[in-house]
Subunit: 119 residues, 2 copies
Amino acid sequence: MTLPTGFADLPAPPYYAVIFSSLRNRDDEAGYAAASDRMLELAARQPGFLGAESTRGADGFGITVSYWASESAIAGWKHQAEHAATRAYGRTHWYDHFELRVARVERAYGKTARSGTTR
Amino acid sequence: MTLPTGFADLPAPPYYAVIFSSLRNRDDEAGYAAASDRMLELAARQPGFLGAESTRGADGFGITVSYWASESAIAGWKHQAEHAATRAYGRTHWYDHFELRVARVERAYGKTARSGTTR
């Protein structure tokens, strides 16, 4: 089954999730959007990257969850040089506040309403 | 420190996360909004509920992460009667697709940009 746009098509658990919730300030919309696209492009090349889901409301509050095969894959991404530089920049320029949680996904399922497909 | 609106103020890990990503259809905006508020109100009374963060973009794709003290707290919420009924209704009436992942949060941190506070 092909998932609708926006959903990460993940393998069966276990795997890891990095849950990043953030409140954007109003600054640098173009710079932020470009960096956001670039980070996703880089992450997708990173060993152990499984997928990501991301959304942000009109109030500036957003949640991005990226999924990884292992803790070591998360560490690899954390230390990727361009990502580390962008992250450091972003933390002082783009966000009023953020919270980051790293979690081990134990179980998962999904459903498409119209077909009733359950995985 | 009081967190900005939208963020869940959680204890130190470990705890559990239910990551619910969904694509809304265009139907029943008022019914959905009322049920969403009601579910949050009910969840907040549930034993082991720690907090929740939620957002949805203009494209209808949303992510809600609720946080729980234990797997048994998640099971308790899953079997709460009104929640179970609303969930069953919502799955056929409000969403084109959803994915649900249950994860154990291993570590967490946050930062407020202006004060530089790190927890």
